[in-house]
């Protein structure tokens, strides 16, 4: 095992071995959840800051629980209350947090590359919790872990990502991780929501969901970002529902043991029907549980540059 990173910026920058190291490290944290004491003193005395420039409840909460189960102290900064409003630059905010002796900063930002800017400027460990349309590495890792846990392998599986690939950082992190692990990745959605050069990442493109679904071992449904509907990327929600909603009827055309995932929050009745979301194929709640264990593993594996005078 040789995982020596200060930061987790994206799965694009990791190789297959790194991904396997992370996968192998998750289980001890997950078994912790089954005990009456769900906590270990691993990061006692360390400070974890969540710095969210975009609203998020579930990712931030997941990171917070992960850090707390490792006994770290957690401080949550959200954009409304922070100094961004007062015009402070990203690097200055980061330096301020570093001066307060933060050990880990978990950042979500609407701009691609924001976590990397912080990572270069600071000794603090930076974890990307979503940047622009770029990556959401811990979501990619938890999807990878859930697939591996449920299917026993990743290599050779047909994984289908459905919906808004263009705006989805979850999709990008999934594609990087899954292709590196040897899965056959396909995407399906309206042409306006699929990047024109996506094949370069080794991905197959479908515009017809019913066609794409047949051979899939795993279907990962992405959230339709209704807030982007003003951009007129598809004619109407109704049409999207007709063509791309994952329904129980469509599910019947897939393999009987197909694994159904969704990163949440779900728009029931839009990208996924209620009966499909609640079907026995769905692992959506397990994804949430796995998310905490995966984030604990990441916090445990990363090494902040703690003191320069070591050794």
């Amino acid at each position: 095992m040789s995982f020596i990173y200060k930061d987790l910026l994206g799965l694009q920058y990791l190789d297959k071995k790194d991904l396997e190291t992370i996968l192998d490290s998750v289980k001890p944290f997950k078994t912790l959840f089954t005990r009456s004491v769900k906590k270990a003193p691993t990061l006692v005395g360390k400070t974890v800051v969540t710095l969210f420039y975009e609203p998020s409840t579930r990712t931030r909460t997941s990171f917070e629980i992960a850090a707390k189960r490792l006994s770290a102290d957690v401080v949550n900064l959200s954009v409304n209350a922070s100094s961004v409003v007062k015009g402070e630059s990203l690097i200055d905010t980061g330096k301020t947090l570093a001066a307060m002796n933060a050990d880990y900063i978990i950042i979500r930002h609407s701009m691609t590359g924001a976590p990397e800017i912080l990572a270069r400027a600071l000794d603090v460990s930076i974890i990307n919790a979503g940047d622009g349309f770029h990556e959401h590495p811990t979501q990619g890792l938890l999807d990878l872990y859930t697939i591996h846990e449920k299917k026993g392998r990743v290599e050779g599986l047909n994984v289908l990502l459905v919906g808004d690939i263009l705006h989805s950082r979850v999709a990008k992190s999934n594609i990087w991780a899954l292709t590196k692990m040897g899965a056959n990745v396909a995407v399906a959605g309206p042409p306006t929501l699929i990047p024109s050069n996506i094949q370069k990442l080794g991905v197959k493109v479908f515009y017809n969901l019913d066609e794409a679904i047949k051979t899939a071992d795993v279907i990962n449904i992405l959230r339709i970002q209704l807030e982007r509907q003003q951009e007129n990327l598809f004619p109407s929600v109704h049409e999207y529902v007709e063509l791309y909603q994952l329904t129980k009827t469509r599910l019947a055309k897939a393999k009987s043991d197909v694994l159904l995932m969704h990163p949440g929050p779900m728009n029931r009745g839009i990208e996924i029907s209620s009966d499909a979301a609640d079907s026995s194929n769905a692992a959506i709640n397990e994804q949430v549980t796995n998310g905490i264990a995966v984030r604990m593993a990441v916090l445990f594996l990363l090494k902040p540059n703690r003191s320069k005078n070591e050794n």
Binding site: M1, P28, S36
Partner: protein
């Protein structure tokens, strides 16, 4: 260069002697449980378990601990040391008032045992915990002493128990 201190047969003999001492001290096997610390403590613990089973016929509950998450030097762990093995405590230690024999291969600074005690306590409140170590190397940094010892080796040199979990063969070597 490394020198062999105990070969496989000598190791087994010393473990047998340890098991005898443990057996003498046990008043009631009903509440006894054995817990080995990963990796080589589990190896020694399994041997002790086998000896006690043979002598008493009791099916003694057995658990394993990986203390990585409880270490006090987390900042300085090498990436290899970050590999975590399975922790399994498949018995209740509080309600059944377990008397636990905690087993490790080498006792040196005492820090591993400190971590193991904290970890064990997170599973509940056992009636008692006793410590059995195969090699006592001296060099303690914490006030922790074993109740049962296989061999004492205070020559200030690094010592290692090498073992194969598969065939149960083990030996003790001195590292220079």
């Amino acid at each position: 260069m490394s020198k062999i201190l105990l070969d496989s047969a000598e190791l087994n003999k010393a473990v047998k002697q340890m098991a005898k001492e443990i057996h003498k001290s046990v008043k009631d096997y009903k509440n006894l449980a054995i817990v080995g610390i990963h990796s080589n403590g589990v190896f020694i613990a399994k041997k002790i378990l086998q000896e006690l089973k043979t002598v008493t016929g009791f099916d003694i509950p057995f658990g394993t601990l990986d203390i990585t998450l409880y270490r006090d030097d987390i900042d300085n762990l090498s990436s290899g040391e970050r590999e975590i093995k399975d922790t399994e405590i498949p018995f209740d230690l509080e309600i059944s008032k377990k008397n636990i024999i905690l087993v490790d291969d080498v006792l040196y600074t005492g820090r591993t045992i400190r971590a193991a005690l904290d970890f064990l306590m997170s599973f509940g409140r056992p009636q008692s915990i006793k410590l059995a170590v195969f090699v006592d190397r001296g060099g303690r940094e914490l006030p922790i002493e074993p109740n049962f010892t296989g061999i004492k080796f205070h020559a200030g040199k690094k010592i290692k128990v090498e073992c194969s979990q598969k065939d149960g063969e083990g030996r003790v070597v001195i590292l220079d």
